[in-house]
Each structure stands twice: as structure tokens, then as C-alpha cells.
């Protein structure tokens, strides 16, 4: 176990953990958007900034990807930290002013006005959808593209993603809920990527439970028989 302090309080973490996860587990409230414990940390949003003092040197750093180290001192609410977080939030809000989550977080931080020209974007470029798609689902259907202020998240060529299995993981993980999924009849659509797939019907209960394309991929990978997914997961159990 690795011992260190957060805001003067002694905490413990395991090798390989990062400051943010230990902090959250220990009850410290550090705002974050692009962090999700199920995927690798990325450090894009810059909200989880803290001040870390190590070997006499102090620096502002993101806590989601800073490894827990013996003896470091972490400070989560110094003036510098609060000032930086506030400005980062203001910049995010200026990007996506219509987001209820961002509006709430900004209000909690004491932001009353946005001093920049408001854009009307909805995606906060946190990258969680792509990380989930890459690391957990393994479909690699969407990813960042372009660079600088033209950075975007989407499928290759911004066309319908041919590798997307419409599992809905990205929909669930998106912190600002801008991906969206709808099911109509025997079709499921991941709205943001404009990916529509036909669903398979369970031979027992008659419900449309998962896209054909997705099930076929699983079957191939796991080398299952052709009729394996004739019955849905609920009925199977």
C-alpha cells in the first residue's frame, strides 16, 4: 500500500492507482468529466487539476493520470487549483453552453457569466466514447480526428461507422448525453453516428434484443454455432 496525503489527510492507495480514484473513494470531491474508472485515464478535460507536492516541488497536474506515489502531498482546493478549474469550466461552457450538466457544474463553481463568444457545440471532446469503444467493446468504430481547434469525434470520414455494432456503450458513457440511441420496430439507431442496424428477434419471447451485426461478430469471435443467438439473453437464463 502506498501512503500519501490529500488536503492534509492520510490516505492509502495501491500500486497502479491514480490520485483521482483514491480521492473519490476517500470522499474528496474533485470535478471531472473525461474520467471513467472502467477505461484508461486520458486527461483531456483538465477539470480534475490538483496541486501535487513531490520532493519539495509543487505543480498543478491532472489527478486522473498521476500515479499514487509514497509521500506526495495532494491539495485539491488551493487558490491556484480553483482558479484554473473555474477557467477551464468557463471555456467548456463557452463551447457547449446548452449542456445542462455543464451549466450545473459551472453554477456550483460560481461561474455566472461566460466572457467568450458562445459556440453551439454539444460534444466536449472528452474521448470517453472512443475509449470505451476501443478498450472495452473492441469495435474501434469512432475516434478523434483532425487537430487543434478543428478536433472532432466521429466515425472515419464522418460517415456511417461500418465497424459499429450498436451496442450502446458510447451512449451510456457520454457524460453530456449527446450520442443518443433509439429503437423503432426492428431497428436500433445510434443517433449521433447515424448508425442503424437491424435487430434480431428472440425465438422465445419475440423481443428485438440485439443487432444482427453485433451478434454475428460475437459468434465469429467466440466460434459459436449459427443458432446460438436464436434465443435472447433473458430467455436463455
Amino acid at each position: 500500500m502506498i501512503s500519501f496525503t490529500i488536503d492534509g489527510q492520510m490516505v492509502e492507495g495501491r500500486e497502479g492507482q491514480n490520485i483521482l480514484e483514491v480521492a473519490l473513494d476517500s470522499g474528496f470531491d474533485i470535478p471531472h468529466l473525461c474520467y471513467n474508472e472502467n477505461v484508461k485515464p486520458y486527461g483531456a478535460c483538465r477539470l480534475c487539476l490538483v496541486e501535487v507536492s513531490r520532493k519539495g516541488r509543487s505543480r498543478l497536474t491532472t489527478s486522473c493520470n498521476y500515479p499514487v506515489l509514497e509521500g506526495i502531498e495532494v491539495f485539491t482546493t488551493t487558490e491556484k487549483v480553483l482558479r484554473a478549474r473555474k477557467m477551464v469550466m468557463e471555456l467548456l461552457l463557452a463551447m457547449c453552453p446548452g449542456s445542462p450538466l455543464l451549466q450545473r457544474m459551472a453554477k456550483d463553481m460560481g461561474i455566472n457569466e461566460v466572457r467568450f463568444k458562445k459556440e453551439d457545440k454539444d460534444c466536449i471532446l472528452c474521448g470517453l466514447c472512443a475509449r470505451v469503444c476501443d478498450e472495452i467493446v473492441g469495435a474501434h468504430a469512432i475516434q478523434f480526428a483532425f487537430r487543434g481547434d478543428r478536433r472532432e469525434m466521429g466515425p472515419p470520414f464522418m460517415e456511417e461507422p461500418k465497424d459499429c455494432i450498436a451496442c450502446g456503450a458510447c451512449v451510456v458513457v457520454c457524460p453530456v448525453n449527446v450520442i443518443g440511441m433509439k429503437e423503432e420496430g426492428d431497428e436500433r439507431t445510434i443517433l449521433r453516428w447515424k448508425r442503424t442496424l437491424k435487430m434480431r428477434q428472440c425465438k422465445v419471447c419475440g423481443n428485438y434484443f440485439a443487432p444482427w451485426f453485433q451478434l454475428e461478430k460475437f459468434r465469429e469471435k467466440a466460434k459459436l454455432p449459427k443458432d446460438y443467438f436464436d434465443v435472447c439473453f433473458t430467455c436463455r437464463g
Partner: protein, 150 residues
Amino acid sequence: MTQSEIDTIIEEHGRKESAILAILQRIQSKENYLPKEDLEYISQKLKIPLTSIFRIATFYNALSLKPRGRHKIDVCLGTACHVRGGGKILEKLERELKISVGETTKDKKFSLESVRCLGCCSLGPVAVIDGQVYGRLTQDKIPSLLKEFK
């Protein structure tokens, strides 16, 4: 490019994933852009997700998804050239060619790009056309310069 041409390039680079940038640059240099089918084929062949290849193709300035013109005009917008009026030269070219920087003329004759510092600062403002450097440019020299190219 044909699939077998792409196969050759991939072989020459040892079929390594890390050679993806070099492979894409080869295709760019031959085709003047990166055709979608070529990227899809490379993704299959090297087992790299198409999303990664698209990401790389849109990240680096040397690569383009849209065809570039037969003659590539690179206007230097390095600091020294900027201070000597490089911006005005770019605008004059935009007016003459009726395109914006980053675009290609409809007849695919010229592509207009900006580049940062070619290192000929004493000659500024500078533009490179088809690898040839043209220095000490002024707005009135542009029309006759463009006429030199077919």
C-alpha cells in the same frame, strides 16, 4: 493505387504498424491525396482500425483526403515573411485563383497552402511552387508568375 502497388509499399516498410505515416506519405506523393479505398485496404492489410488511419490522415499537414492540384503553391507564412507582407501575397493568390488557402482550383491546376518557414527569410515574402522557391514577391508579380504554369 492498385492493391498490389499498396502491397509492395507495405512490404518495403517491413509490414510494420509504426510505418503507417511513411506508407501514407508514399500514397500521398503518388496520388496527390489519400483515396478512401486505399485507406480501407491498408486498414485491412495491416490490421489497424480504420479510425486510427483516418485520425492519422487528418492530423498531419502532409496528408490530405481531398485531391491536391497539379501544381502546389506553398506560401511561406513564417514570422519573417509575415512581417514582410506574406499575408498580402496569400490574399492576392486567393483572389487570382478564386480559392481559399487549403483549397484546390476547380480545374485541379493549383492547390494553395501555407507553410511555416522554409528558411529563406532574407528573400521574404517567399512562395514555393512545385518545389521551386520564388522570393522577393510583390502582389503585382503574381499574375505573370501563375501564367508560367500549365
